[in-house]
C-alpha cells in the first residue's frame, strides 16, 4: 500500500512539501510517544503515529528513514519543526483522530509489520 492511499483513505493533512507519495510504500507502522521506544521499535521506512509534535520527532524520523510521521489529536507542530522536516526530507501528516483510531484504520487497511 502506498502513502497516497493512506493519506487519501484516512483524510490526513500534509504539513510538509508534497512528494511523489505513490512511490512511497510504508514497510509497517509503530505507535508511541516515547522517542527512545520509537528508536527501538519502529520499522525502517515505516509510519510512526504519535501525539508529539515538537522538533525532535523530525530527528527520529530522519534517523529511522520513516515513510511518514502521523501526528494525531490535532497537535500542531510549529513552523520551525515543519521547516526542519522539509530540510531532512521527513514527511509530516496531521489528523484530528486519536492515535488509537489512526492505528486501527491503518491496520484495517492492511498495513501490518511484515
Amino acid at each position: 500500500m502506498t502513502l497516497v492511499e493512506i493519506i487519501e483513505k484516512l483524510g490526513l493533512e500534509l504539513l510538509t512539501d508534497p512528494k511523489d507519495f505513490s512511490q512511497v510504500v510504508p514497510s509497517g507502522g509503530y505507535a508511541s510517544d516515547l522517542l527512545s521506544c520509537v528508536m527501538t521499535g519502529a520499522p525502517h521506512q515505516g509510519v510512526w503515529v504519535t501525539l508529539q509534535a515538537h522538533g525532535n520527532i523530525v530527528a527520529v524520523g530522519a534517523l529511522l528513514e520513516l515513510s511518514a510521521i502521523i501526528i494525531t489529536g490535532g497537535a500542531a507542530p510549529d513552523q520551525e519543526t515543519i521547516d526542519k522536516a522539509n530540510h531532512e526530507g521527513v514527511t509530516l501528516l496531521s489528523t484530528g483522530m486519536t492515535t488509537y483510531e489512526v492505528v486501527g484504520r491503518l491496520w484495517e487497511l492492511g498495513l501490518r509489520n511484515s
Binding site: M1, L34, V58, L63, E65, E88, G110
Partner: protein
C-alpha cells in the same frame, strides 16, 4: 535467464539462482501498485461502441476497463471494436461487446505475478484492484518495463554515488593509519538542535560508503547520547567520532552531573528524567540500552560531580565470525566488549563474571 521463462511451476535451482539478475530480482520486489497507471481511461457501461471508437482513437489507446459505479464490469479491447465494426453494430452498448470474465491483479502483488499472466494468457492489459476489489489502476507491459527501468536507474545512481564516495577518502590518502575525526559541541537544553550531530555523523558515514544499516545503527546510538547531553547535563558536552576504514569510534564526554550507578542506568526503563522532559517524549529509560543494542562495543564511565564518558565502537565491516560479547560491571563503570578470539577459545567466562548475551 529470460523473464518469460519464469513460470509458476518452475523451481529455481541454486545454480540458476546465481545467474538471476537484478531485473528478475526487481520483478519479485516491485509491487504492481508502484508501477501501474493510476490515471487510466475507463468506459461507462451506458456508452455506445461508436463513442468508444472515438475515445480510443482520440486517446490513442487499445483497450479500457468498463466501469459501473466504481467497480469493474468488464473490459473492452481493440478486438472487440473490430468485431463490432464488422457487424456494423456501432450503435450497440459497450455491454454487448465487452469481455465480462476479466482477470484482475491486486495492487499488492509483485510484478512477477503480472509477468506470468502476461506471458501465459497473452493479455495486453490487466485491471488492478485493491483488497476490497475496487478498480485502482491499469497495468500494461509498458508500465512494467517503465517501472523496472525506473527502479534500475535509482539503483544504479545510488550505487554510483556510493562507490564514488567510498572509493575516495581512504583509498587516495595514503598513511599508515588514516582516520577522519568529526567533532560536535552539544549545548544543554538545546532541544531545537537535538539530532543534528547524529544526523551529520550518519550522513558522513553514508558518504564514506558505510552500509545504510550501519549508518542507521550509528545514528541511533549517537542520537541517544546526544539527547542525554541535552537533557541531563548542566553544561552540555562533546561528541567525537573517529572514522577509520574498518571502524567508527565515538566518544561522548561531559563534566556533570555524573551517573551514580551506571548499571542501574543501563536497566531498560530506568530514568531520572524530569516531568517536563517526559512530556516531550523523552525519559523512557531506553537511551543507554538502545545504544548498547546498536554498537559492537561500549563503555560507560562516570563519577558523580565529575562527569561521564561514553565510548562506543561500531565495526564498519562485519566480522567474519560472530563473537560473543562480554559484559563487565564495576564501580562507576559499565562495559560491553568482545573478547579476542584466542581468549574466547580459552574459556568464555571472564574474570569479572559474564552476563549472557
Amino acid at each position: 535467464m529470460e523473464l518469460s521463462s519464469l513460470r509458476a511451476e518452475h523451481v529455481i535451482t541454486d545454480k540458476e539462482a546465481k545467474t538471476i539478475g537484478r531485473i528478475e530480482e526487481l520483478s519479485y520486489e516491485l509491487r504492481i501498485g508502484e508501477v501501474m497507471t493510476r490515471n487510466f481511461i475507463s468506459v461507462a457501461q451506458d456508452m455506445r461502441m461508436e463513442q468508444v471508437l472515438d475515445l480510443f482513437r482520440e486517446k490513442r489507446i487499445s483497450g479500457a476497463p468498463v466501469v459501473a459505479e466504481g467497480s469493474l464490469a468488464g473490459i473492452l479491447s481493440i478486438e472487440d471494436l473490430i468485431r463490432c465494426l464488422r457487424a456494423g453494430d456501432t450503435q450497440a452498448l459497450v455491454t454487448k461487446y465487452m469481455a465480462r470474465q476479466v482477470v484482475t491483479i491486486r495492487a499488492g502483488d509483485t510484478v512477477i505475478e503480472a509477468l506470468k499472466l502476461f506471458t501465459q494468457k497473452q493479455y495486453g492489459r490487466l485491471p488492478v484492484v485493491d483488497e476490497s476489489g475496487k478498480l485502482v489502476g491499469i497495468l500494461t507491459k509498458g508500465d512494467v518495463t517503465r517501472g523496472v527501468l525506473r527502479a534500475l536507474e535509482s539503483d544504479y545512481q545510488m550505487e554510483e554515488i556510493r562507490r564514488y564516495r567510498a572509493s575516495h577518502l581512504f583509498e587516495d590518502i595514503v598513511s599508515e593509519r588514516s582516520s577522519l575525526i568529526l567533532r560536535y559541541t552539544i549545548a544543554p537544553r538545546d532541544f531545537a538542535c537535538g539530532g543534528q550531530a547524529s544526523s551529520s555523523i550518519k550522513k558522513a558515514l553514508l558518504r564514506l560508503g558505510a552500509t545504510p544499516q550501519i549508518a542507521r545503527r550509528c545514528g541511533i546510538a549517537v542520537y541517544e547520547a546526544e539527547m542525554n547531553l541535552i537533557l541531563h547535563t548542566p553544561n552540555g558536552g562533546t561528541i567525537t567520532a573517529e572514522i577509520e576504514p574498518h571502524l567508527i569510534n565515538i566518544k561522548v564526554e561531559d563534566d556533570g552531573p555524573g551517573i551514580e550507578d551506571p548499571s542501574l542506568a543501563m536497566k531498560p526503563g530506568y530514568s531520572t528524567a524530569s516531568e517536563q522532559v517526559r512530556e516531550l517524549g523523552f525519559g523512557a529509560g531506553m537511551g543507554l540500552p538502545n545504544i548498547e543494542r546498536c554498537v559492537d562495543e561500549m563503555s560507560l564511565e562516570s563519577a558523580v560531580g565529575v562527569g561521564t564518558t561514553l565510548t562506543m565502537k561500531i565495526d564498519l565491516q562485519p566480522p567474519a565470525i560472530e563473537l560473543r560479547h562480554r559484559y563487565a560491571v564495576s564501580l562507576g563503570r559499565w562495559e560491553k566488549t568482545r573478547p579476542a578470539i584466542a581468549s574466547r577459545q580459552a574459556g568464555e567466562s571472564g574474570p569479572e563474571g559474564e552476563v549472557a548475551t
